[in-house]
Every structure is written in structure tokens, then in C-alpha cells.
Symmetry: C2
Subunit: 343 residues, 2 copies
């Protein structure tokens, strides 16, 4: 088994730097488009055979060192009893935003084995199909990020409603976050039990918070989930606070083994900030996949050098791969990381 990824997460010695890409199963791959053309996005998430197929594609086509479950961070929110729609232009929409005590009280804590069985079945199927070729990463959204979707009713620019609830109705905010945290904790535990070999927590919108708000309104819920998970599993946990350069000092105490970095921060600086406490994951600008070979290689070299200052380094993009990326350039990235980090 190629367990380079798991070793790097744990800060153990590796022969080369492992690499995978956020959204590696996605629209940039014609093979994905072919599958996706036959079903809606939500249908794809809920069909274990198809979700398994697209999860495996980048492993076979690109040679990445980890597979990541094909799903969406909003899936468990639907299981909490909310209507979730995906619109081609607007992205995800919750037609009934959660902004009142009554709406929070109506949310149910799903039983993953019953309500999210399709996710766990996908994980079980994937473990069989992968046959230990590479490890499988499960994932969930962080409570703060999930809450923004519920409160705003979808994506947002300024997250006014979320911050309004935080600042003017903090008790309501905390009740909502506690409920999402309980749900996420059970969901990730179930993924680990079903066979996920690492877990990533995506805090996609953490970067809209200043450090004090992050410490008060986002991080404690992540810490609680990770502490819960540690009771039942010792698989590596990755915490990715997107646009979180100013949140690193706090994120260090999340309890995660690995902190994900977006491309805005020099990974060497990040390594100096977090010291020997955690490994790092990242952080090439997804648009840099457009660069000619030599220039892409120069950027990768710099990231690998910075990564060597950390306890461990998993190479990745600083954000999801963009649909416009030529697959050959994605393959070049994976190959260059392997080539330049070996020896």
C-alpha cells in the first residue's frame, strides 16, 4: 500500500512528498463530465456506485497519493431536515434560511447509518475498490462554514446575516452551532468506522472572521469535533481554514494533525508560525496549473522547500482545482511533485 500520505500527515519520514488535489474528482476531467452528464449533482453524491467511480478517476488518471470521497459538505445539512437545491449559477441554496429559535429547534441530528447511509456505503465500496492502493480521505464542513450556508440561505459575499446573528443574538448562534457540531461529530465518526483512513474538515469561510471572532465563534466547535473523534479513532485529521493566514496561531490548537493552507501564505512562513506542532498541507495557487513546466516546477520547488520546515508536508493546491484546468497540466503537477521531492 502507498501510505506516504498517511505518514506525511503523522510527520513520519517519507521517500517523496505525497500529493492530492482538492476537488480532484471534478469538472476538469472529461471522465467526470461523462458520469455527471447522466445525473444531477445531488444524485451523483447519493449514488455509491457513481460516487465511487468519480472518486477513483484521479487516482487512476493522475496518480495522486490519496483518494477523497466524492460528496459535498452540505449533504448532512439536508439530512438535518432542510431543503437543499443546487442552482447552476447561484450555487447551493437553502430556500428556508435558519434565523430563528424555532428554525434551530426544528433541525434534527441525523443518524448517519440511517440518514446518510449512501455516504457510508460509498466509503465501504471505495475501500474495497481501492484495495489499499492509496488511502481514502473522508470529510465534512466545519460548523462555522456550514452555519453560514444555513443562516445566509446559500453562498454570500459579506456574510452579513451570519455576523448579525453572532453579534446581536449570540445565544441563538451558539445553539445553532452546537447542533451542527453534534451532527458533524457523529457524521465524521461514522465515516471513520465505515473505513475512512483520514478526515478533512473544510472551514471554507473561516477567512471572513478576524482572529478574535474565529477564536470565539468558529474554532471551539472544531476543537470539540476533533476531541470527540480522538475518543474513537487515531486516523489523521486535517483542518483547512481557507484564507486563514491570520488564524494560524489559533488553528494550531484545533487538535488536527495537519493544517491546510491556501495559496496566499508562503508555506515557509506558515511552518515558522506553527512550529513542530502540526504538519502542513498545500499550497499551490490552482491557477498556477496553467504555467509552463519550468515555471510550475519553480513554484513547486519553493513549496517543497517550505514544506520541509514543517513537521510533515502533504502537497496540494491552495484551493479546489478549477474546471478550466487542462487535465494534462494537473497530471504535470502531480508528476513534478513526485519527481522534485524524491531523492
Amino acid at each position: 500500500m502507498n501510505n506516504t500520505f498517511l505518514k506525511a500527515c503523522r510527520g513520519e519520514k517519507v521517500d517523496y512528498t505525497p500529493v492530492w488535489m482538492m476537488r480532484q474528482a471534478g469538472r476538469y476531467l472529461p471522465d467526470y463530465q461523462r458520469v455527471r452528464g447522466t445525473v444531477t449533482f445531488l444524485e451523483l453524491c447519493k449514488n455509491p456506485e457513481l460516487a465511487c467511480e468519480v472518486t477513483l478517476q484521479p487516482v487512476d488518471i493522475l496518480g495522486v497519493d490519496a483518494a477523497i470521497l466524492f460528496s459535498d459538505i452540505l449533504i448532512p445539512l439536508e439530512a438535518m431536515g432542510l431543503v437543499l437545491e443546487f442552482h447552476e449559477k447561484r450555487g447551493p441554496v437553502f430556500p428556508d434560511p435558519v434565523r430563528t429559535a424555532a428554525a434551530v429547534d426544528r433541525l434534527r441530528i441525523p443518524d448517519p447509518e440511517a440518514d446518510l447511509a449512501f455516504v457510508l456505503n460509498t466509503i465501504r465500496l471505495l475501500r474495497r475498490e481501492l484495495a489499499n492502493k492509496v488511502p481514502l480521505i473522508g470529510f465534512a464542513g466545519a460548523p462555522f462554514t456550514l452555519a453560514t450556508y444555513l443562516i445566509e440561505g446559500g453562498s454570500s459575499k459579506f456574510f452579513f446575516e451570519t455576523k448579525k446573528m453572532m453579534y446581536t443574538a449570540p445565544e441563538l448562534y451558539c445553539r445553532l452551532l452546537d447542533k451542527i457540531t453534534a451532527c458533524t461529530s457523529r457524521y465524521l465518526k461514522a465515516q471513520a468506522v465505515a473505513g475512512a483512513q483520514a478526515l478533512q474538515i473544510f472551514d471554507s469561510w473561516a477567512g471572513i472572521l478576524g482572529p478574535d471572532d474565529f477564536a470565539q465563534y468558529a474554532l471551539p466547535y472544531v476543537q470539540s469535533i476533533i476531541a470527540d473523534l480522538r475518543q474513537v479513532t487515531d486516523i489523521p485529521i486535517i483542518y483547512f481554514a481557507n484564507n486563514g493566514a491570520t488564524l494560524l496561531a489559533q488553528s494550531k490548537s484545533s487538535g488536527a494533525d495537519v493544517l491546510g493552507l491556501d495559496w496566499r501564505i508562503d508555506i515557509a512562513d506558515a511552518a515558522r508560525q506553527v512550529g513542530d506542532a502540526v504538519a502542513l498541507q498545500g499550497n499551490l495557487d490552482p491557477c498556477a496549473l496553467l504555467l509552463p513546466r519550468e515555471e510550475m516546477a519553480a513554484r513547486i520547488k519553493k513549496i517543497l522547500a517550505g514544506g520541509r520546515l514543517a513537521r510533515g508536508h502533504v502537497c496540494n493546491l491552495g484551493h479546489g482545482i478549477l474546471p478550466e484546468t487542462p487535465p494534462a497540466q494537473a497530471k504535470l503537477f502531480i508528476d513534478l511533485v513526485h519527481e522534485l521531492s524524491a531523492a
Copy 2:
């Protein structure tokens, strides 16, 4: 004359911390809405009497320590020969994006006195109307930020086209940026000559660049403009690289007297990073204007304490004031800054 703002920009001793707000002339004020109800946004920008009226409103209503010209960073791009539209939902749109050498060659460098006379007339009118009550800030967009609008054809989420041009056609990118820089340099010089007493350069999208790309593709154009301005004027220059926490070390060498901060960074940390080289401006989260008095005061106290570590401090929000803000809360912010920083 209340010249507290100018003194703080220069790092001179002040009796209290001056404060103004980005977008202080804007939709949150019923007085602004009344004026705006009679004309389109572009008509308002181009009408010196009306632009003057809305510029003065926050000075009279809120007691801010500086007025900022009512205009838009995209105005000079229209004068470069492009069609500019403002759509209610999508925001600004350039129906003909600039992505080819031919499109770059077609751009003209406007003569501000002829092509942007309405801006300069607004400045002259404002200086008369302000009668030295508070200083007047002029402004422009930074070349990188302006280029993103031209290349993308409007706002963007991932700025794929901009980075694609940078990474795959760097010569074309540089030609475009050189032209925008020449235009901006002339435009800001003309504003200073017309009577602007300080100038702010808005790099609203700088934060989508990693530090190396910022140093190569954005900062040099700002440095060139500021060096040009220094030939003709010594008025304070403020550079605001939005979401630029990881760009501070480089921004320090922009040549500006003051660096603007968004709310994501602790201002005390920023002060430690930039040392005694520049003053700082910022940085309350605009949503924190919703907080009850005591909690808002606590945040302001922390910002003021951090600001005292810098060479000088101009208090401000970390981003433009949001339309949903109650005017009384905006007034509370201004009053609290004055109250808590005096003595």
C-alpha cells in the same frame, strides 16, 4: 481646520485618533438614498453638485475627520475608451473584456483635465464647500485591481482570466498594466493639483495574489505611481491592499505613508510587522457596527491600543460600510473612537 487626519497619516502627535469610513457616503444613509433616487450611479459620479452633496453628508451627519470624494475606481477606465455598465445585481460590467494585444492597444491614456473634468470639478467644489472643515481624500484603484475588472469583464470569484494572462501571456499583462499605471498616475496627480489633500489607492483584489505574485504583478505598479506622485506633491498617500495580511511585508515598501488594513488581521500584529516605517489605517469589521455599545467599545479600545504601536493610526472600518448598517450605529462608532482615544 481639523487636520487630525493629516497629522496621523504623517505620524505626528494628535489629541485623539481621527476616523473616517470607507463608503461613508453611501446607501446606509437615507440622505444619500434621497439623492441617489433621482439619478443613476454613474450620473451621480459625474455630477459635481450631487457628488459634492453626498460627499459632505457624512461629515455633517457623523462628524468624521475626513471627507472622501464620491466616485468609483472604475471611472477612469471608462475614460480609457471602454463601455462601463452598472447592473443592480451583477455590479460593474465591461461588456468587452480586454484580453488581446489589439484590445490593449486600443486603450487610450485620458487627459484628466479634459476627459475626467467632472472629477476635478467635484474636488474643486468640495474644497470650497468644506472650507477647511476637514481634509478631502481623493482616490483611485490600484492598477492590478483595475486590470482584473478589464480582463474579467467585471467582478469575479476566482480571477481565472486575470491569472491566466499573468501566467501564460506575461508580456501582454505587463503592457496592459503599464497603460493603466500611466493613466492612474496622471489621474491622481490631477486630483492633487485640483485640491485633494490626501490620496488613497484601493487595491481591492490584491488579496487574491500570493506574496510572490503580488511582488511581481501588482506592487511595482503601485510603487511607480507613488514615486511619480512624490515628484509633484507631498500630501499623504494611503495604500489599501484588501485581504492583504500576507502582503504587509511587501506593502511596506509601496512608498505610501499609510497602509490600510482589513479586519482579518490584529492591528497590533500588523504594527509589529511594519515597524516604524508607515502609519496604519483600520480596521473594525463593518459588521461589528451592529454590536451593542459596550461590545463595540471593547473592540474599538483594542484597535486603538494596537494602533498606538504604529507610527500613526487613522481609525476606519476594515472594508466599506454595509448598506444594512443603521446610521445611528455608524455615528456611535465615530463618537466612540473620538471619546476613547482622547485624554
